[in-house]
């Protein structure tokens, strides 16, 4: 069973607020899923290479040529808050 402190640690890493009443159910549900997935711990995999990409891709690099990107005003249109020069966010110092 995952402890409450561990849930809070992972939530901090994930930048996810959890209310007090959400912590215990999250611990329980995560523990249940981890119990199932832990079965792969029984396999012997020492000499097996990890799969990073499942279908072989060659020549995925493109020439590094500048081309127009999304215009700034278009990018701003979907933002919750913008200033003259960029996206506006609350102060990190607060």
């Amino acid at each position: 069973m995952i402890e409450r402190d561990e849930v809070l640690h992972v939530a901090r890493l994930a930048r996810l607020a959890l209310s007090d009443e959400e912590i215990e159910p999250m611990a329980r549900e995560l523990s249940a899923v981890l119990d199932h997935v832990a079965k792969i711990g029984e396999l012997s995999l020492d000499d097996v290479a990890p799969t990073l990409h499942v279908v072989e891709v060659t020549g995925a690099l493109r020439p590094d040529e500048p081309r127009p990107s999304l215009p700034r005003e278009v990018a701003f249109e979907q933002a919750p808050e913008v200033g003259d020069e960029g996206f506006l966010v609350p102060s990190p110092q607060a």
Partner: protein, 491 residues
């Protein structure tokens, strides 16, 4: 008009017997009338329906209207991946898969409901609420592409686009009695698909028949400079024409016979088993041989899948921070507080669970035990398939252990929901193509739809990477022989 498959409608338009504008208006009216929310009597399978008339189109798809899963970015059209956190988002560009179909002459009819960020197997994890299964409105349409599947089965769209990460096209196609194809990983560009798990996500068609699936696939494949994992497909996709299966060797994996035996939870329902066995017998009548094959690691696929997909999701979904798009929590005390409360308020319960699971699996001290091991299991699963395909041409399984289940039946226990994808996840991890076709109706008394005669059962057929033409041909031959009552759930 309703009885025409998309391919048949194209033929009529090209012959001058039907106008594309007429067809679009017909489906627009049906989509608006029956695709909306449940309170209004709809199936809640469509989240946006086009207004007015479509521009005339002269491409090979002849203006035939298309429903598109919500997570495909469509320029100026709401695209929120079934999530509250992207409420009101109207993307400044269109996904490559959709753009290619539009270039080929398809017209955008509607956006389709889905599980939030494609995480789910029932469409119940949607900010829009669950879509209903047109075969029985008390049951789920499957997921995550549940809205796309329900819309096609109900005849609210001639065909639809979905995405499949661990079964999200194939499983809802099976539960709604239609065809769903997950192509080889990389066959279709992922550019403009709101990401879930990038090493697994693939777009694909949900259609009334195999011929339509081949046609949509044909116009989506190919390398795209905007997706470095997209591939030049080695052949053209042909129109499937096979009527026989002479010489085709089908493999039935011993390890995908009964998930209940070692992996607590889902037993293959007897009615699903019966329909699957009937399909195998039909395949033999058509000339196929059937033999047992072994995928020794397939039973571990679901575990590896949930570690890998959740890990990738925890990284992909880091971008939803209330800065550049979507909704933001108000009255925050600072930047970190804004991030954490925006994500708390914006994500649904299942998405939060997966972000937490993925973050845990990637965190210091656990990475090797979970993520690292899961990547190695993935290698073994891909090897298992390669070995099996030395002996057989195609592998067949039921698409899902059960027919469409009741709304709410599996929401309390995440793992029981995850078991819905037991048969589809191994192919996803191996990156190989797989199709689900309807292979009959269930006969058990507790799973009889209001139309009588049971609920749809799906047959999954999988092949090696880039074997789509062979796969579609085999599916076509079986489809002809099975004669599934395809239009029965139309509203």
């Amino acid at each position: 008009m309703l009885d025409l498959s998309a391919s048949a409608a194209i033929a009529e338009i090209e012959a001058g017997d039907l106008s594309a504008a007429e067809l679009f208006a017909f489906y627009r009216r049906r989509a608006a009338e029956h695709g909306g929310d449940v309170e209004g009597g709809g199936l809640n399978c469509l989240t946006w329906v086009a207004e007015g008339v479509a521009d005339a189109s002269d491409g090979p798809l002849a203006g035939v209207p298309l429903a598109v899963k919500d997570l495909f970015c469509t320029k100026g059209v709401p695209s929120q991946s079934g999530s509250h956190i992207l409420q009101g988002y109207r993307p400044p560009y269109t996904a490559t898969a959709v753009k290619r179909l539009e270039t080929a002459g398809a017209t955008l009819l509607a956006k389709a409901n889905q599980d939030e960020f494609a995480m789910g197997s029932s469409n119940e994890n949607s900010a829009f609420g669950p879509a209903l299964n047109p075969w029985d409105r008390g049951r789920v349409p499957g997921g995550s592409s549940g809205g796309s599947a329900a819309a096609v089965a109900a005849g609210l769209a001639p065909w639809a686009l979905g995405t499949d990460t661990g079964g999200s096209i194939r499983q809802p196609a099976a539960m709604c009695g239609i065809v769903g194809l997950k192509p080889t990983y990389g066959a279709i560009s992922r550019y403009g698909m709101i990401a879930f798990a990038s090493s697994l996500d693939q777009a694909g068609p949900l259609t009334r028949d195999v011929t339509d699936a081949a046609l949509l696939l044909k116009h989506m494949i190919g390398r795209d400079r905007c997706d470095a994992t997209s591939l030049q497909f080695p052949q053209e996709i042909e129109r499937p024409r096979a009527e026989r299966l002479d010489g085709v060797r089908l493999g039935v994996p011993a390890e995908l016979q009964n998930p209940g035996a070692d992996f607590a939870g889902a037993e293959v329902e007897p009615s699903v088993r019966a329909a699957f066995d009937r399909a195998l017998a039909l395949a033999q009548e058509l000339g196929a041989s059937v033999q047992e094959v072994h995928l020794p690691h397939a039973a571990h696929a679901l575990s590896a899948y949930y570690i890998l997909s959740s890990s990738e999701a925890s990284s992909n979904l880091a971008r939803f921070d209330g800065v550049r798009y979507g909704v933001r929590a108000t009255d925050s005390t600072g930047l970190l507080d804004m991030y954490t409360r925006t994500r708390h308020d914006g994500f649904g319960a299942e998405v939060k669970r997966r972000i937490m699971l993925g973050t845990y699996a990637l965190s210091s001290g656990y990475y090797d035990a979970y993520y690292g091991r899961a990547q190695r299991v993935r290698t073994k699963i891909a090897e298992d398939f390669r070995t099996a395909f030395a002996d057989v041409d195609l592998i067949v399984t039921p698409t899902s252990a059960n027919v469409a289940f009741a709304l709410g039946e599996k929401t309390a226990d995440p793992w029981s929901m995850y078991l819905s994808d037991f048969f589809t996840v191994p192919m996803s991890l191996a990156g190989i193509p797989a199709i689900s076709i309807p292979c009959g109706l269930s006969e058990s008394s507790d799973a009889v739809g209001p139309h009588g005669g049971g609920l749809p059962v799906g047959l999954q057929i999988a092949g090696p990477a880039f074997s789509e033409n062979r796969l579609l041909d085999a599916a076509h031959a079986l489809e002809q022989a099975i004669g599934f009552p395809e239009g029965r759930a139309r509203v």
